[in-house]
């Protein structure tokens, strides 16, 4: 196949940076190829994406650029403007909201061709085509605030397609989307590559959905491509990937553990279907002799708490001032002995509204919210702040002080703390979140993972009994996500009740003992996470999907494997036991 984009020894350094962000990148991408780029945060993925369409170096004139980026054999990106290159290369960003620059889907799509002065007839032809292939028909006149995140991102891809590019570069296009939005966008990308032959370069943290779609994977780490090859090969190196901050698909991890325990496997599967058929193959011959380990009872029983509720929503309805009915007669109790709670559901299902009602930020239109004996409709925010803290999704919405220390002290100061007591509280909280080394620094200039921890610290410093954290891991790589979730688990163990709102089903399964599923303003499932993820029909109706390991255990329940297993490690233990490996080889696998 002919080369369509070639990077030769590309080096790039932003102005004022000491270190190079890209360090001698050599890539040759063929026409019609689907390339997946993986790597941890700060590996240089977004910078590399901007090299493909010339934003680097053109938009950063003070930066330092070395090497060549050649498109279609003759276009050197240094000699053409970004606008000219956009005819060949379309770039879609992670931020769904900001990249939508106009006031309707149609305007967004025709923006590029209008700028180029194309005729109405030509624009009309392209528009009809893009609306169809991006499944945006009927949404032409919709404003950005009237469509979902998935639709907005599909419009962004459509806007790039209107310029008829040969190459489409997508920088984490599904990060901010709910499971349904993610699936919709990935399906569209796959279609563009397979049916229209558009070369796709996709940067993603989600390997489960994207690995099977790609022809080739580039593993970017610290500005260098440290590994590249077919997904089947790259994802075999599970330890290597995980040690460098990339999470392989759950099914690959599972088989990796089985292989380590002595299960004879030539290749680790990377897709769910492969894993499913391989497991049936492995388990059937021993079905007569298996010993099924008991799952802890807490995982399968439906909640029946006897401790007193620390938060109680009874028949709560909430209607926004514009008339949107966000919650409908919702009743919910949070108990003192609850495990960590996950709230899941599509965008717009009412998760954030529910959490804001719990945090007293919103007052119910109908019904009551009690925090112990405190009625949130009558209480002052400072009183509520002692009971519930709310960490917003985007730390930049929350941070407002010039130093990390000031930021953490803002809440407790409003509660009336001063002097030594305040100082002690701030130091203690910064230590808890491991941000004390940044105490004197400007929080706005720190990386997003650190800013997220500062946002949590600023709420934790008020010592609320319940802490609600909204999407704490959005845009984070797997290592940073686990660091944040581990911190939250520690806080939970120390007596704070942690409630997490997230689209990341694997994190909910691994960290949250109780899950609440919201759909169209109603709670449709509430119970132990394993139990909730066993209800695949209900989840499907709400456009959710259990993590791969849980889905596998649900399917394998037909041959005696317990359903609703929430982590890869637990499932591997059960399977190893079932396959009947010796304790010695099992112990070796644990090492």
């Amino acid at each position: 196949m002919a080369s369509i984009i070639k990077l030769s020894d590309v080096w790039w350094k932003y102005e004022k940076d000491k270190d190079w962000v890209l360090k001698g990148i050599n890539v040759d991408i063929k026409k019609g190829e689907f390339v997946l780029i993986v790597g941890p945060n700060l590996a240089g993925k977004t910078t590399l994406a901007m090299c493909f369409n010339g934003l680097v170096p053109h938009s950063y004139p003070a930066g330092e650029f070395k090497g060549n980026v050649i498109i279609s054999n003759n276009i050197d990106t240094r000699n053409y403007t970004v606008a000219e290159i956009s005819k060949k290369v379309g770039l879609v960003f992670q931020d769904v909201e900001t990249q939508f620059v106009t006031m309707s889907v149609e305007d967004e799509l025709v923006f590029g061709p209008e700028i180029r002065g194309l005729s109405r007839e030509e624009i009309g032809r392209r528009l009809k085509w893009v609306l169809k292939i991006m499944r945006l028909e009927g949404l032409s006149d919709k404003a950005p605030f009237d469509i979902s995140g998935g639709q907005k991102q599909r419009a962004a891809i459509g806007a790039a397609l209107m310029n008829m590019p040969e190459i489409l570069v997508l920088d984490e296009p599904t990060t901010e989307l709910d499971p349904l939005g993610k699936a919709e966008v990935l399906e569209s990308i796959k279609q563009l590559n397979k049916e229209l032959g558009i070369t796709v370069i996709l940067i993603e943290h989600l390997t489960e959905e994207t690995a099977p779609m790609a022809d080739r994977v580039l593993f970017l780490y610290d500005g260098k491509i440290i590994d590249e090859g077919k997904p089947d090969d790259i994802f075999q190196r599970v330890d290597h990937l995980k040690s460098k901050g990339v999470k392989p698909p759950q099914v690959t991890e599972l088989f990796y553990l089985l292989k380590k325990a002595g299960v004879p496997l030539k290749k680790l599967p990377i897709t769910f279907d492969e894993a499913e058929s391989k497991l049936f193959e492995l388990l059937r011959p021993t079905s007569a002799t298996f010993k099924t380990p008991k799952i802890k009872t807490t995982e399968l029983r439906v909640f029946n708490q006897k401790s007193e509720p620390i938060a109680d929503l009874s028949d709560v309805t909430f209607v926004y001032p514009d008339g949107t009915l966000a919650l409908q007669e919702v009743s919910l109790k949070i108990f003192r002995d609850d495990p960590m709670i996950g709230i899941i559901g599509q965008n717009g299902s009412g998760k954030t509204t529910l959490a804001k009602l719990l945090a007293g930020i919103l007052k119910p239109t109908k019904g009551r919210v009690f925090l112990g004996d405190l009625d949130t409709t009558k209480a002052h925010m400072a009183e509520i702040g002692r009971k519930v803290g709310y960490v917003f999704q985007n730390p930049d919405h929350q941070i407002s002080s010039n130093t990390v220390r000031e930021e953490v002290s803002l809440g407790p100061r409003n509660l009336g703390l001063a002097g030594l007591e305040l100082e002690r509280r701030v130091i203690e909280t910064m230590k808890d979140l491991e941000i004390e080394e940044f105490a004197g620094e400007n929080p706005f200039l720190l990386p997003k993972g650190v800013r997220q921890r500062i946002a949590i610290a600023s709420v934790l410093a008020m010592k609320p009994r319940i802490i609600i954290v909204d999407e704490p891991t959005t845009g984070q790589d797997f290592k940073s996500s686990y660091t944040i979730m581990d911190k939250l688990t520690q806080l939970h163990k120390r007596g704070h009740k942690i409630i997490v709102i997230t689209h990341n089903m694997s994190l909910v399964a691994e960290y949250c003992g109780r899950s609440i599923v919201i759909d169209k303003g109603r709670i449709v499932l509430d119970g132990p996470t394993g139990f909730v993820f066993m209800q695949e029909d209900v989840l499907k109706r709400t456009s959710l999907k259990p993590p791969q390991a849980t889905s596998l255990s649900n399917i394998l329940s037909s041959i005696g494997i317990p359903a609703g297993v929430t982590s890869v490690e637990k499932l591997s233990e059960i399977l190893i036991n079932r396959i009947g490996l010796s304790p010695r080889s099992y112990l070796r696998s644990k090492k």
Partner: protein, 268 residues
Amino acid sequence: MRGVIGYIPSESIVSKLNPVTKLLIFILMATAAALAYFVNLYIMASLFLISIVLLGVAKVPSFWMKIATFVFIMQLIGTITTNIFFPPGLTPIVEGQVLFRWWWFIVTDKAVIRILHVAFLFFSMAYTTLFLISSTTQRDLVLGLRTLKVPYSLCFLLTMIFRSAGLFLADYAIIREAKEGRGIDFSKGSIIDRLKKYMHLLGPLIVLFVRRASVLSASLESKGFGAKGNKPSQYRVVKLKSYDYLLIFGFATLVALAFINRILVYFT
């Protein structure tokens, strides 16, 4: 957050009118007012009455009307005061026939006419603006301007303002909620205290604005913005119907009347 100015979806006839017609009505009303201001009180009164009719047809909610009326009554009180209230130390401007004199108040026929001119101008323009923004989407406003051949760069700037203002207001609401969640009560304290509390909102608003601006500019360039040599084309066009022409003709006639009247006054 829906946007900075308030389009109110309604089933009124006005919301179905061509945006070009609505923009022209606004422009023609403003032109007629400029020509008749301090020249012909009857035309000014007619403009005031027409603006009320426009508001009624557009079915603008009374809440909006109350706000607009309140703001302009406040301004009018200022105008009235400067025309009839002359406390010691201020030289009374007595023009025309004195109709009424009491304490520091001197009311003349010319002052009354002047006040009426100001009142009619304020209210007619306020109501016409309200008619335009509440019955036209921001998208249609820009479309109307493009159809009227306003330069593309200005129309694009307006789009950016509408879009950014919507995002800015949404950010403001979230940041305020985040601060309230940490015990800051914006409704309590002296004016200075409240101002200090609002200062807490500025930092994150500016940071978000700057971060967004960088994504926005990269996104615009990637879509082809800045391509040289081509005159931007316009995909969406709106066609005027017979009733649009009729309305435009009616308002143009009003402007013509105001213009002729002004010429006549000038020569007499």
